[in-house]
């Protein structure tokens, strides 16, 4: 019942520097691919949220005015976080199906694949961050030391996205329409996350259901540290972290099982 790899081979594969090199080269490849397929290249990373912002500013400042101070910063912070979540999760869901040749490589550490996708998303997030800072400064927001909590929020969102991706990518092997269904669901959740409207507009009686969406708290936490200069809601963060800590190993196990099944069923 076992396949044993003795000797340096296995240890080598699990040595951290090797995994780091592998992650870097796969992320690098993903970046180059997006860059090469369009004339504007990496600029799309910035153009996409800026266009979204433009539309929201038009609709909610001119057509149906909502009273949110520093609206540009408010929406842009929400968009960056949400777009990272949405794009990475959607792409990672198809990752087993689209990486057959990698999975067929002897001893390829399959579990790295969703991590690669989410890391690529993180890099796009980081590339757009200076624009967000520019918006904050234009809106006259004072940056405070709580901004140093930013990496913690990013790590949390990263881990949460990867855990979800493990589950969904595994499910996508059995049900090939998972990715399409997810596309629709993500679009719905975009409206159930406070990206372009104010959280305070949610009536109390709906709050208990509405607050079950982890992205509500993650998006709000980004705004707390970046815009409002207050520490994030540690309670919510601890709950999401705990949830992720349970989800990750389960998803990881399922993901490995399903990717193996996928290459066996040639």
């Amino acid at each position: 019942m076992v396949t044993r790899f003795a000797d340096s081979g296995l240890q080598h594969r699990w040595r951290l520097p090797y995994l780091w090199d592998l992650l870097r080269s796969l992320v690098d490849r993903d970046m180059k691919l997006t860059y090469k397929r369009s004339v504007l290249g990496v600029a799309w990373t910035l153009i996409n949220p800026l266009l979204q912002l433009l539309v929201f500013a038009f609709v909610f400042q001119i057509v149906l005015p909502v009273k949110i101070p520093q609206y540009a910063s408010y929406v842009f912070a929400g968009l960056l976080s949400w777009n990272w979540f949405q794009t990475a999760l959607y792409q990672a869901t198809g990752v087993i199906i689209s990486s057959r040749s990698l999975i067929r490589q002897p001893r390829f550490p399959v579990a790295i694949l969703p991590i690669v996708t989410v890391t690529t998303g993180l890099i796009h997030f980081m590339l757009a961050l200076p624009i967000l800072i520019a918006f904050l400064l234009i809106d006259g927001i004072q940056l405070t030391p709580v901004i140093l909590f930013l990496p913690i929020l990013q790590i949390l969102q990263f881990a949460f996205t990867v855990s979800c991706a493990y589950f969904l990518a595994a499910l996508n092997v059995t049900f090939r329409d998972t990715q399409h269904t997810l596309g629709v669901i993500l679009q719905l959740f975009f409206y159930l996350t406070p990206i372009f409207y104010d959280l305070k507009a949610i009536p109390k009686e709906y709050w208990y259901i509405y607050a079950l969406n982890p992205m509500v708290h993650i998006v709000t936490s980004y705004r707390q540290i970046l815009m409002w200069g207050v520490p994030p809601d540690w309670m919510a963060i601890a709950i999401i972290a705990g949830f992720t800590a349970i989800l990750w190993p389960l998803g990881y196990w399922l993901f490995k099982r399903q990717s193996r099944r996928f290459v066996e069923e040639l």
Binding site: R4, F5, Q105
Partner: protein, 418 residues
């Protein structure tokens, strides 16, 4: 000595699912998860045991679907055995689907960096070996062009080069040596021999008994997931070939002698072999069965298949009376698309020039099962071809040629001095 690969009592099963197994959420909801359970299990590999020492090359032979590729995958650590044990020592390199991991939009350089790291090298190791990888693949000028501009041969060369430069301790090779041109194939073989010398254990899959005999130290014959024979390659390959012959003989039905449409006599198990699921009803040599050397020849096979036969292989060979083969070709190797054959039909091989020396030849014609498992109908030494020529020639070839005689100017000058 410690073995590089030890496989003991390995079994691997696959599950068969209902053909109506839902593949989408929607279908699953509608059918209520009833058809998600497997309906039967079959064994792709059963109780397989062998070992390969460092520096040894094992050849695995068998028909399609015998479990060869499954075995290779399991050794590579893709998938797990259901029973038994596999032990592998050292880094595994694989020549499985060469070039499949390349991305057309990226340059050769970028692809090499990614593939080599995926194959198990660290970034600094790749940096050290990069030049030698490119040099071996003979792609120096093209390394910064996108891989989509490469020919298939160039992609294969690059992939092969990356794989051998990972210095594997165990190398898995699946039906290779269709890599690039002949000189590159020779280079690959030499490289594999070098790795072997350095103590790399190699497992090679092939359906060619000759290749196994030529290259391997040991051979393993798989049939429907079970080991039929394991040992000296000459012995195993011999058994494999004779099994194919006896399969054909067993399937040859008894039938009185028959005449073909053009009057040749066919006697079962003398000059005719095969199960006769497809019959060759006539073979015509056109325009005539006597030609001048260098003229064209058309071999027309008329056949009749009472029942539908899936992708049969048609083969035509021309040999001298003493048995020397001059031409031996088939539709599979030449990648002639063959689908289902049913009813009467004919197939022609048009040879533009037949540049053979004068003499008598036999044209042997056969139709085989799609994996060469046995012959449907094979007519041996039945059709005579005569080639005439205006001069005699002791070799085989008689290409168009002429002598050109020039008096050497040097000699003339010398004679003038004298």
């Amino acid at each position: 000595m410690r073995h590089a690969i030890t496989v003991s009592n390995l079994s691997k099963g696959f599950k068969h699912y209902h053909t109506g197994k839902p593949t989408t959420f929607m279908e699953a909801m509608l059918s209520g998860l009833r058809q998600m359970q497997p309906i039967e299990q079959f064994w792709a590999l059963q109780d397989v045991s062998f070992s390969v020492a460092p520096g040894e090359m094992l050849g695995i032979i068998g028909h399609n679907g015998a479990g060869k590729s499954t075995l290779l995958q399991l050794i590579g650590g893709v998938g797990y055995p259901d029973k038994g044990k596999i032990q592998v020592r050292g880094r595994v390199g694989a020549l499985l689907d060469l070039g499949a991991g390349f991305h057309g939009d990226l340059t050769g350089r970028e692809n090499v960096l990614v593939t080599a790291i995926v194959a198990g090298l660290t970034a600094s190791e790749v940096k050290q070996r990069f030049d030698s990888i490119v040099e071996f693949a003979e792609l120096k000028q093209f390394i910064d062009s996108p891989v989509r501009t490469y020919s298939t041969g160039m992609q294969m060369r690059l992939a092969f080069s990356v794989a051998v430069h990972t210095c594997p301790k165990v190398l898995l090779v699946d039906e290779f040596l269709s890599v690039g041109d002949l000189s590159f194939q020779a280079k690959c073989l030499q490289r594999i021999a070098e790795l072997k010398e350095k103590g790399c254990a190699i497992v090679l899959i092939s359906h060619s008994a000759e290749q196994i005999q030529e290259l391997c130290d040991r051979a393993l014959w798989l049939r429907q997931g079970q080991v039929v024979a394991y040992g000296e390659p000459e012995v195993v390959a011999g058994q494999y070939i004779s099994e194919m012959r006896s399969q054909t003989q067993q399937r040859t039905p008894n039938r009185p002698a028959q005449l073909t449409g053009s009057g040749a006599e066919l006697r079962i198990n003398e000059n005719r072999f095969g199960s006769l699921e497809i019959e060759i009803t006539n073979v015509k040599l056109l325009p005539l069965d006597t030609i001048e050397s260098g003229e064209s020849l058309c071999v027309e096979i008329e056949y009749n298949a009472p029942q539908a036969i899936k992708s049969p292989i048609f083969s035509i060979a021309i040999s001298q009376e003493d048995g020397q083969t001059c031409l031996d070709i088939n539709t599979l190797d030449m990648q002639v698309p063959m689908t289902i054959v049913q009813g009467k039909g004919n197939l022609k091989l048009q040879i533009e020039r037949l540049d053979l020396k004068q003499g008598n030849y036999f044209v042997d014609v056969g139709i085989y099962e799609k994996d060469w498992a046995y012959a449907y109908d094979f007519h041996w030494h039945t059709y005579l071809l005569t080639v005439n020529s205006s001069y005699s020639n002791k070799g085989i070839l008689a290409p168009p040629m002429r002598w050109e005689i020039n008096t050497l100017p040097v000699l003339r000058d010398l004679s003038m001095i004298n």
